[in-house]
């Protein structure tokens, strides 16, 4: 056997069993890390430009006026990568360094539990209880934000972490119940079945808009989107839990919230907005895996763009206002949404 043959075999093996191995592919490429990075860069740029348009400003412009400053975020990323990382002497070193990385890694974990196609060859895990698993994995990451704020040993960081923990406790129940409101109508936790049922055109977001709304607001709360940008409110706490971070570590922290928002957007677009709904996957790597995953990605980008647009419109709630909204309004509304799902399932209004 010639050397070229061996090399090409190894290359085929790497391509087939590592890069296009569905768990790795979904975690690292689409909709995981690489896609998330590109989309986060785009979304932060869009957020700044949209807020500037609404608030009578220009936003990032000077770096490339023809594209409206689109390369600004790449320049920022470069700056973050070459900036010095300072660890304060009073900080707890190991959690201080590890917690942001773990937060980012765990924020992407729900990507491994979601299907991007209906062909079982390309599922990352067996899809029997995938909705439950994805929702459960999405709740892991915020704990480490509390941890890093505690490790920073800084007043602002501790207060920010405290607010974060308050908000976590408030939003998790809403997010979980409103995402699980899909189960009575489809009768399963299998996300492939949930999406395949929505191929009829009756998306769950249309059948149960209240569940979509509550899921949307819960995601905003969890990722400190704008009406609920409480943990890292600039004007009160310097940068919230991330006060002591600099350079790439701050970039990681800032990206972690957006990556979590991205993961939730993919979940919402799969559960409520039909996933790859107008398209029926056919066997083959491109038509069976790439195209449906791109459709889901586009839908999730639209959800994320709407979330980012709210920065331009809303001010910031106080902590007590947000918590009272969560516990007094949102949780009854979420339970009502679950009840609507049950009623629709009972009366046969199912996708």
């Amino acid at each position: 056997m010639s050397g070229i043959q061996v090399l090409s075999d190894i290359g085929w093996g790497i391509l087939h069993y590592i890069i296009f191995y569905p768990p790795v592919y979904q975690y690292v490429i689409i909709p995981g890390f690489a896609a998330a990075l590109i989309i986060v860069i785009f979304i932060i740029w869009f957020e700044r430009k949209a807020a500037a348009r609404v608030q009578m400003r220009y936003g990032p412009l000077e770096i490339s006026p023809r594209t409206g400053g689109a390369t600004q975020l790449i320049a920022d990323l470069l700056r973050y990568t070459v900036q010095e990382i300072i660890v304060p002497a009073t900080a707890d070193f190991l959690p201080f360094i590890l917690a942001p990385n773990i937060a980012v890694v765990l924020a992407l974990l729900p990507m491994v539990a979601v299907p991007m196609t209906s062909i079982s060859e390309y599922w990352p895990i067996p899809m029997g209880y995938s909705l439950l698993i994805a929702v459960a994995l999405s709740t892991l990451s915020p704990i480490f934000i509390v941890m890093l704020s505690w490790a920073s040993n800084n007043k602002f960081a501790v207060v920010g972490g405290l607010r974060e923990s308050f908000v976590i406790v408030a939003y998790e129940l809403i997010a979980v119940i409103s995402l699980l409101a899909a189960t009575p109508m489809t009768g399963t936790f299998n996300m492939v079945t949930i999406v395949n049922d929505q191929l009829s055109g009756r998306w769950l977001g249309l059948l149960n808009p209240i569940a979509l709304l509550t899921a949307f607001i819960a995601v905003l709360m969890s990722t400190s989107g704008f009406p609920f940008e409480i943990p890292d409110s600039e004007s009160e706490l310097v940068a919230g839990p991330y006060t002591e971070y600099s350079g790439l570590m701050y970039g990681l922290n800032m990206g972690a919230a957006y990556i979590r928002r991205w993961a939730f957007s993919v979940l919402i677009s799969l559960v409520f907005l039909g996933g790859w709904a107008p398209y029926r996957p056919t066997p083959g790597l491109v038509t069976g895996y790439l195209v449906p995953s791109l459709i889901v990605t586009v839908k999730a980008i639209i959800v994320m763009a709407i979330m980012s647009f709210l920065r331009a419109v809303y001010g910031r709630y106080r902590l007590d206002q947000a918590l009272s909204l969560a516990w007094e309004v949102m949780i009854p509304l979420t339970l009502a949404a679950f009840g609507i799902s049950l009623a629709e399932a009972y009366f046969g209004v199912v996708p």
Partner: protein, 196 residues
């Protein structure tokens, strides 16, 4: 006709009305501005505000008109203007004689324009721009040659003149100002044509 007060029933009385009307109103305004933005930021080196003729900018001396009365130096509240004695040749008699002319220190000047107002022969006048840079503080103390020259308006070479006008629907709007010189000349010519 005096404005009649219109009494509307506010939808924001009940909790649900407040939640729906407030959020929807904010979102509609946001989407409206997102689709049709009204940007009023001045992109300074690329645009500049075209100021009118009466603007109190830099001060220039017409040396021929100056009668050395020292009113400008005396009225200057910041003591930026000083009279400088120089040897000049008198036009009528042809004798060399000593005369005082104003010079200005822009470290101190507050651009109040009293010197221009008080000048009996209108030998001092303002130029309608103020964006000029000096390399150091010593350069800001002008000599008699410097104060007679109009300073160079470098922003006008690269920038586009704009002005802010009030629009009834959209509030303050940034619009492009007319090209300098052409429209006023045309109006002057037309007036001359009418009179002649």
């Amino acid at each position: 006709m005096p404005a009649r007060p219109v009494i509307k029933r506010s939808p924001r009385v009940t909790f649900l009305g407040r939640a729906i009307a407030g959020n929807l109103g904010a979102l509609i305004v946001g989407v409206k501005y997102f689709i049709d933005p009204n940007r009023i930021t001045l992109l300074y080196p690329h645009e500049y505000i075209k100021l009118r003729q009466g603007y109190r900018g830099y001060i220039v001396l017409k040396m021929d008109l100056c009668i050395s009365c020292s009113s400008c130096a005396r009225i200057c509240p910041a003591r930026a203007m000083k009279m400088l004695p120089v040897q000049v040749k008198d036009k009528k008699t042809g004798r060399i004689m000593k005369k005082k002319y104003p010079v200005i220190n822009y470290n101190r000047c507050i651009f109040c324009g009293y010197c221009v107002d008080v000048c009996p022969t209108e030998a001092l006048y303002h130029v309608p721009y103020h964006d000029i840079v000096y390399f150091n503080m010593a350069d800001m103390i002008l000599t008699l040659e410097d104060i007679q020259k109009e300073p160079e308006f470098i922003t006008a070479k690269e920038g586009v003149p704009v002005k802010y006008v009030y629009d009834e629907k959209r509030g303050l709007v940034k619009v492009a100002a007319e090209e300098e010189g052409k429209p006023p000349q045309q109006t002057e010519k037309s007036k001359e044509g009418e009179t002649a």
